[in-house]
Every structure is written in structure tokens, then in C-alpha cells.
């Protein structure tokens, strides 16, 4: 029996964890037409991965919309260059579609390179490019030869799959940059961070700790990133992969070509961030690194614990719903909520695969609903049925939660509060506390009528509803 009533063909995408049986959840690349999926497209996947590269020029080859809707929408912060905050488009028109857009693209690349002098240009293909068949690779190749900087095609035609395909396209594009530059590391203990996007300055809560251990972070993919760092990333000894959905593919390619091993970590939640520091230190088998890591973990945990405990006292026992783009963040959030003494009653992702859902079903409690590629109608039904007190998701889901009178926390890429590292967990606990315990939820949604017998039928109905809910009224 399905958990809730939903669209034909969607039943298998929603399941309730029950006992130790392995949970089988349908998850596929194609979203159901008309179901109002929360997923975006291939281009979006590629854009979110590459965009935080701050000094690169991101040129969208297509009609204006794709560039308009992705102009500076990521919350990724920069410590320097701001070129990534501009939105470049070839703004294809009817004639470009009829006669092909290659010439326009070639001229645009040269024009922009001259004006902005970027160290590299990414050229994203959109739906229309895939249909009219512009040979982006050859245009990029010729342009690169002429202007002397890497011009890298990103195969991100919107309709050719979902976000996952876009992640892959972005990884392939990044891979073309790696190994182009010599570098002499300052430390023998070098790492890269993969799938860390410096949203709201997350990276700046993490990098100093890694450096304090004695590690050198050669490149971050791609938060606060620079093209030059990516180009020399092959000099690292270890890749730490956070957002596994977007970056495992690249980590595997780097392992294959450069022999760099990778480990999955998360910088969110006290447990996970401590494990990440430990794991990074242990990799090098050097006791002094491990000792330093333990010192830092102890010091930082002790520092933030009192503040977290204060929020925990106000939120424990409440029920949380999680709806994320990728599975890695969702898994990390389950542990984060555990640290706050909260219960996860719904967990869903846009692009998880069967392995992700198997993992998720192992860490959640019985009765938790797991959902793949949810839509607003399902989310609404599930939030109600599972009696969730708070939803953690992105902007599209924010206003749905509010309209349902449910608290909300934005854990998406356009959030403005850092949630990673030790202080990040304090911020997270505070945001959860603030929304859950806000006085706005206590304001009655229905006004007590001062009319007695003379009240209209509708007014009496409202009063009756209030009485049912045990709210004192003043008739």
C-alpha cells in the first residue's frame, strides 16, 4: 500500500521504513510530466557546480532565459574575484536558431575574453544548442588557440537527463583544466576539497582548521575557487569529497589519472566535521597531525557545545522533514538532527540513486517516510501526515511550508547563513530554534468572532472549527 495517494507511476517513489527489510525505492532519471517536480535540468546541474569558480567567465550559449534565471543565484562567497557574479549569454535569437549560432559564439568568446581577461571560459550548451547541432567543441578549440586561454565546452543541454548529468558535464569540464600547471606544495600534506561550494562562506569555517592541523588545501572544487588552483589540483595527495552526488565522478577520474585517492566526508554537524578532520589527518599516518586534529576537535567542541545545548533544549523532540537536492547533504542532516535531539520523519532528495536510498534507509528510524523526486502536492500531504514541525529544504519549498503553517530552514545553495564547521552547527541550531519557536506560529489563524447569535453561517462554522481545536474563544 502506498504511503499517500499520488500520481499514477509515482507510488513506488515513496516508501516508509519498516523494520530491517531493505527498502526498495524507485528512482529514475526522468521526472513525471505534469507532476511539478522540484528538479531542474542538466544545465542547472552544471551551472551550480561550476559557478562558484570566482575568476572564470561563465558563458551560456542559448536564449536569454537560461542566463537570466541563473544570474548570481548561488550563495557562494568570494574572497576576491567577482566575475562569476555576472551572467554572460550569447542571447540567441531566431536567426541564430535558423542559421546556427557558431559564428556568434566564436565572436562572443573573443569579445568577452578581450574585455574581461578571464583565466578561463566555460561555454554551457543549452537545450536549443543540442537541437540545432552547433559544434561547441570545435568553436571552443579554435577560440582557445586564438586567445590563448582554456575555453571549455560544458555539454549541458537541458533535456539530456537531470541534474546528475549536469554534474557529470561540469566534472568533465573541470577535468580538462586539471594538470595544466606546475606547482611546488608548501607542505608534504596536501589535499583538495571536492563538492565544497563556500555557500555563505562555509569554506572559511573549515579551511583554517585543516590548515591548523598542518594540511595544505591546494584547490577547492569549486567554492571561492580560482582557475589556477584547479589547474594544479593534481599535486594533492588526497581528495576529500563532500557533495558526493556532484563530485564523486570527478574524484574517480582524478584517482584514475593522477592516482589521488578520495574519501567521502561532510563538514556539517559536530560528529561529521570532527570525523572529517580526523580522517584527513589520519590519511598521512603522521602522529603529530592526528594529535593536532584531536586537540582541535576537543577545543572546538567544548567551545560551541554550551551554545548548541541551549538551542537543543528548546527543539528536542520536534519532528523534522528533509528535502534536499542531493543525498549526501540529506544523510548529514539526519545526523545533525540527532545531535539536536530531533526526530526525522520525512527524508527526500531530488537526485538520489538506489544506493543513496539504501544508505538513507539504514540510518533513519522506523516510520520515516523516504521520497524520491517529490512534488509540492506530495510534500504537502507528507508534511501533514507525518506531522512535521519543520521542513529543511530550498526556496521553492519555503513558501509551501509557511503556507501550511510549518517552520522552515533553508539549507540550499542560496542560503545566507553558514552551516558548516563548529560555528555552522551553532548557526543551524539557532535557525531551527528561531523558526520552530517563533511567536508567529502561535498567532491564531482564525479570528475569534465577537458576534454571537447574529453571526453568519460561515462565521459560526469558523467558530466551531476553533472550538474543535480547543482554542478559547470570546463569543
Amino acid at each position: 500500500m502506498s504511503v499517500i495517494k499520488t500520481f499514477e507511476g509515482r507510488e513506488g517513489h515513496i516508501a516508509r521504513k519498516a523494520g530491517s527489510d531493505p527498502l526498495s525505492l524507485s528512482c529514475s532519471n526522468e521526472s513525471l510530466a505534469g507532476a511539478v517536480s522540484q528538479r531542474a535540468c542538466v544545465y542547472s546541474g552544471a551551472r551550480v557546480v561550476l559557478n562558484p569558480l570566482t575568476d572564470a567567465l561563465h558563458l551560456v550559449h542559448g536564449p536569454i532565459g537560461c542566463a537570466s534565471y541563473t544570474w548570481d543565484i548561488r550563495g557562494s562567497s568570494t574572497s576576491g574575484p567577482t566575475l562569476y557574479k555576472s551572467s554572460f549569454s550569447t542571447d540567441m535569437k531566431e536567426l541564430d536558431v535558423i542559421y546556427g549560432g557558431e559564428k556568434k559564439l566564436a565572436t562572443a568568446i573573443k569579445e568577452l575574453a578581450l574585455k574581461y581577461r578571464p583565466p578561463a571560459i566555460f561555454v554551457y550548451s543549452t537545450c536549443i544548442v543540442g537541437i540545432i547541432g552547433d559544434d561547441i567543441r570545435s568553436v571552443c578549440g579554435q577560440a582557445a588557440a586564438e586567445i590563448g586561454i582554456p575555453v571549455i565546452p560544458v555539454k549541458s543541454e537541458g533535456f539530456k537527463g537531470n541534474k546528475n548529468e549536469g554534474y557529470k558535464a561540469a566534472c568533465n569540464a573541470l577535468f580538462e583544466l586539471i594538470g595544466r600547471r606546475d606547482y611546488e606544495p608548501r607542505s608534504p600534506y596536501t589535499i583538495n576539497l571536492l563538492g565544497e561550494y563556500n555557500v555563505a562562506g562555509d569554506l572559511w569555517a573549515i579551511k583554517p582548521l585543516l590548515e591548523e592541523i598542518g594540511l595544505e588545501v591546494i584547490a577547492t572544487f569549486t567554492g571561492d575557487g580560482r582557475v589556477e588552483e584547479i589547474e594544479r589540483a593534481n599535486h594533492a595527495c588526497l581528495n576529500l569529497v563532500q557533495c558526493s552526488g556532484s563530485m564523486t565522478y570527478l574524484a574517480k577520474k582524478m584517482e584514475e589519472k593522477f592516482g589521488i585517492p578520495y574519501r567521502r566526508i561532510s563538514f556539517f554537524g559536530l560528529g561529521d566535521v570532527s570525523n572529517a578532520l580526523r580522517l584527513a589527518a589520519e590519511h598521512f599516518g603522521e602522529p603529530s597531525l592526528m594529535d593536532r586534529a584531536e586537540e582541535i576537535i576537543e577545543r572546538e567542541t567544548a567551545r560551541v557545545m554550551p551554545r548548541i545545548a541551549c538551542h537543543r533544549a528548546r527543539v528536542q523532540g520536534k519532528k523534522a522533514a528533509i528535502y534536499m537536492g542531493g543525498a549526501a547533504k540529506a544523510v548529514s542532516l539526519v545526523k545533525g538532527f540527532e545531535e539536536l535531539g530531533m526526530e526525522v520523519v520525512i527524508i527526500g532528495t531530488q537526485t538520489g540513486d538506489s544506493e543513496d536510498y539504501r544508505k538513507i534507509s539504514c540510518i533513519v528510524k522506523d516510520g520515516t517516510v523516504i521520497v524520491d523526486d517529490a512534488n509540492p502536492l506530495e510534500l504537502r500531504e507528507l508534511l501533514h501526515k507525518q506531522k512535521a514541525d519543520i521542513l529543511v529544504a530550498g526556496v521553492k519549498e519555503r513558501f509551501l511550508a509557511y503556507k501550511l503553517g510549518i517552520a522552515f530552514c533553508d539549507f540550499n545553495h542560496d542560503r545566507t547563513t553558514s552551516f558548516e564547521g563548529y560555528d555552522g552547527m551553532v548557526n543551524f541550531a539557532r535557525e531551527i530554534d528561531v523558526s520552530l519557536n517563533s511567536p508567529v506560529w502561535k498567532l491564531p489563524k482564525l479570528r475569534a468572532s465577537t458576534l454571537g447569535a447574529g453571526a453568519s453561517c460561515n462565521q459560526r462554522k469558523l467558530i466551531a472549527m476553533r472550538e474543535c481545536r480547543g482554542v478559547a474563544i470570546n463569543v
Binding site: 536569454i64 536549443i128 513558501f399
Partner: protein, 437 residues
């Protein structure tokens, strides 16, 4: 605008975006894009940010297979699921660049769907062709309004009403203001206001959230537009095709166009026209509002006189904001729109001294001119924020999008009241800036 092969930081959106704002103004209407899933999701995100409302848009979620073999099966499935999930009273289908380029004939697909799904045979399904590579969201909006009357308007008994068509994208608060005005005038029953986003994109928080937000112009009213005595369209003056012209040609409903009632003179113009149409004088409440606007103009004229302003955004709104600035003695130094419309420049030149006019502009063009034009204030969409930050010039946010401040859904710019509020905002932004120096 400039001799450039690229657009940097666009000042417009694509056509399908405009259709959503029109379809959301029809009671029980669900928009659906025939194209890849991303289009619907991106525009939902964009509009949710702006209105701070959930905005549901269906998609035919075209995949590679659908793209190669035609998207009919996906589109039909999309319509079917949208009906099952949302029980809409109508569905508005906009094409995207993808659907247009693979050459799907959506009119034929809808025809087939009606035969295959008898339950849907009476449900209005309104197609509109909006390839994203031509026009902009302004044109998409106008095309959707035209598609709505083409599909729904139906000849019947004369109703002696006036169609009041909102020809440009406004805020829910602006539409509410017009509705209130008609009410206060005692003539709500004599007008068909279309489209009406006042409730649908600024919905109250209620005990039981409806699946589709309540409100919007009822379908029977859209059908009845064919029987009105006259159509008055406010805004949308730079559009080639518009609903009013169609109703005139097809049903003989006389059509006229007025500028958006922004600022004193153009609100006066609108009011005079309304007095003619209703045969009744403007209610006293609004005479008092007008008096208060005159008072506000007097209060702020010395602050705003000579202040150089850059105005940018949708064409009709920009034209009227420019006029408001001249009314108070401010100088429209740079006037820009992303939409390439031939009438725009002429309209601006007719009213302002000698501004720099940018048509089909992007924010790089605007930025360059702001620097050259010694601008004191920016007035337009939140997309001007980078210029504002870099050049340290205050930005007063008006229009779509407003992604970094709250209240876009409640921002009133129409009428005497709206003009007064705008003047307050402009003056306060200036004073705030001065107090910091």
C-alpha cells in the same frame, strides 16, 4: 543595444515567464510549459523569490527521447497529471525554445488529447506559442492574454460592460488597488478586470491551503469579454499583438489603450477616462488621495529637484516612472529597458529633456551609462544591486524581479497613492544616503 555579440547581466527574461503571470491571473488556471523540466523549475524559483509565494508550474518534462521522437506523449501525460493532481479550471500551455524548435504542433496535440480523454473535453486548454529565442517576458505576457481571449471569448448577449485589461506585469497590490477603486466607484459589476493576480500571487495564510490559490478573473468573465461595449487596456503599449485588438477585430468591441496610471498626470488621464466610461465622478476618497499626492509633491520637490536618476526595467513601467520623475523636477538621466521595442525611445523623448535612452539593454550598458551620467539614484529591479553596490548609489526597487528585499507583492506604484509612496521611497533613499556621508 551596443554592437555586441553577447549579453552581460540581462535586463529581461524569456517569453514563457510572461505567460505565467498572465495565466496566474485566471481563476483556477494552471500554467504548464512544454519543454525541459528545468524551465518550469527555474521560473518557479524566480517567482517564488519575488512574490514569496509557492508558485506551481507544470512541465511536460521533455527528455532526449521526447525531443527526438516528438513531445506529444509527454505533453499529453503532463496535462493528464496536472488535471489529476490539481483539478484546475483551465490549463495554459506555453511552449519553450525546445518545443518550438523540434516543431511540435501543440494545437493538434491538444485536439488529440481531448478526443483521447473525454473527461477533459470541456476543460479549457489554452496554447500559446512562446519560443524563448524571440521577444521577452513582456511579449510573452501579452501573447498569453491574447491567447486567453482567442480561446475563451465567446459571442453572446451584450453585457454593457467594459473590459479593463492590465497590459503590463504589475504587482498584486497594484491590481488590488484597481479593484478597490472600481468598488469604491460602485462599478465593479460594470467592468471585467483581466488578468487578476491580486489574490493568486499574494495569497492569505488560511486554515486549509487550497491546491490552486483562490482568486483570479473567472473564466466566464474572460468568455464574456467578447460581449463588452469597450476594452480599455492600461500598459502594454509597445506590444504588437494584444487582447484588446483581437476583441475589436473579432467581436467589434471598441479598443483603446492608456498608459499605466503612474504619477499624477497619467493617473488623471486614467481617472478622466473612467469618469467617461462610468458617467460618474471620481469618489471623494480618491480626490483626497490626489490632494495628498499634490501635498507630497510639494513636500519632497526640493529634495528631488535636479536629482539625476537611472530608471530600468519593463518598458511601460520605465516610461511612466520617468514621467513621475519629471513631474517632481528630478532628472531621468539614464532610461533603460531590456525589451527591444521601437516605440520606447520616441515615448521617452516626448516627455523628458535629454536622457540617455537604452533599448534592448543589458546591465553592462546600464552600468556604463550610470557612470557617465553622474547618477544620484537608481530606480528599477533588484538586478540593479550590483551597480548600486559598486558605485555606492542607492537603489529603490520597483518591478520584477525584486529578489533581495521583501514586500514586492505588496508594493503599490499605481494611482495617486502609489505615486506618493514612490516619492517617499525615493526621497528617503536619498536622505539615508546623505546622512551616511
Amino acid at each position: 543595444m551596443s554592437e555586441s555579440y553577447s549579453t552581460v547581466n540581462p535586463c529581461n527574461m524569456c517569453m514563457p515567464m510572461g505567460t505565467v503571470l498572465a495565466f496566474k491571473g485566471i481563476e483556477g488556471c494552471m500554467p504548464l510549459f512544454h519543454g525541459s523540466q528545468g524551465c518550469a523549475t527555474y521560473m518557479r524559483l524566480y517567482l517564488a523569490h519575488h512574490f514569496r509565494e509557492p508558485v506551481d508550474i507544470g512541465s511536460s518534462a521533455l527528455s532526449e527521447k521526447g525531443t527526438v521522437y516528438g513531445g506529444a506523449a509527454n505533453l499529453k501525460k503532463g496535462i493528464k497529471n496536472l488535471i489529476a493532481g490539481y483539478r484546475p479550471k483551465a490549463i495554459g500551455i506555453a511552449t519553450t525554445c525546445l518545443a518550438e524548435t523540434i516543431g511540435d504542433d501543440i494545437v493538434q496535440i491538444i485536439r488529440e488529447f481531448r478526443i483521447e480523454e473525454p473527461l477533459a473535453s470541456r476543460l479549457p486548454i489554452i496554447p500559446v506559442s512562446t519560443p524563448s529565442y524571440s521577444g521577452s517576458h513582456e511579449e510573452g505576457y501579452a501573447r498569453a492574454l491574447l491567447a486567453l481571449v482567442e480561446a475563451l471569448a465567446k459571442k453572446g448577449e451584450p453585457n454593457n460592460k467594459v473590459n479593463l485589461v492590465i497590459g503590463s506585469v504589475l504587482s498584486p497590490a497594484d491590481v488590488r488597488y484597481l479593484k478597490d477603486m472600481l468598488n469604491d466607484w460602485g462599478c465593479s459589476d460594470e467592468f471585467i478586470l483581466f488578468p487578476d493576480i491580486s489574490e493568486t500571487l499574494d495569497a492569505p495564510l488560511v486554515e486549509e491551503m487550497p491546491t490552486i490559490p483562490e482568486g483570479g478573473t473567472p473564466l466566464r468573465d474572460v468568455a464574456d469579454t467578447a460581449n463588452s461595449r469597450e476594452t480599455l487596456t492600461i500598459g502594454g503599449r509597445f506590444q504588437k499583438d494584444f487582447a484588446g485588438a483581437f476583441l475589436e477585430e473579432t467581436y467589434g468591441v471598441k479598443s483603446s489603450l492608456l498608459p499605466l496610471p503612474i504619477g499624477l498626470e497619467h493617473t488623471d488621464l486614467f481617472v478622466s477616462r473612467m469618469e467617461e466610461l462610468t458617467g460618474r465622478r471620481l469618489p471623494g476618497k480618491y480626490e483626497a488621495e490626489r490632494g495628498r499626492l499634490l501635498d507630497t509633491l510639494a513636500d519632497v520637490h526640493n529634495y528631488l529637484d535636479g536629482v539625476r536618476v537611472a530608471v530600468f526595467g519593463d518598458s511601460d513601467i520605465v516610461v511612466e516612472l520617468t514621467r513621475l520623475l519629471t513631474e517632481v523636477g528630478a532628472v531621468p538621466a539614464v532610461v533603460a529597458t531590456g525589451y527591444s521595442s521601437p516605440g520606447f525611445k520616441a515615448e521617452i523623448r516626448a516627455n523628458s529633456a535629454d536622457p540617455i535612452i537604452l533599448c534592448g539593454a543589458d546591465f553592462t550598458d546600464i552600468h556604463d551609462q550610470v557612470c557617465k551620467g553622474r547618477v544620484d539614484l537608481l530606480l528599477g529591479t533588484s538586478n540593479g544591486k550590483q551597480i548600486s553596490q559598486k558605485e555606492k548609489i542607492p537603489l529603490v526597487r520597483v518591478g520584477l524581479p525584486n529578489h533581495d528585499r521583501v514586500g514586492a507583492n505588496r508594493q503599490l506604484i499605481l494611482g495617486y497613492e502609489g505615486a506618493g509612496r514612490l516619492l517617499d521611497a525615493l526621497t528617503n533613499a536619498l536622505l539615508e544616503e546623505r546622512s551616511r556621508k
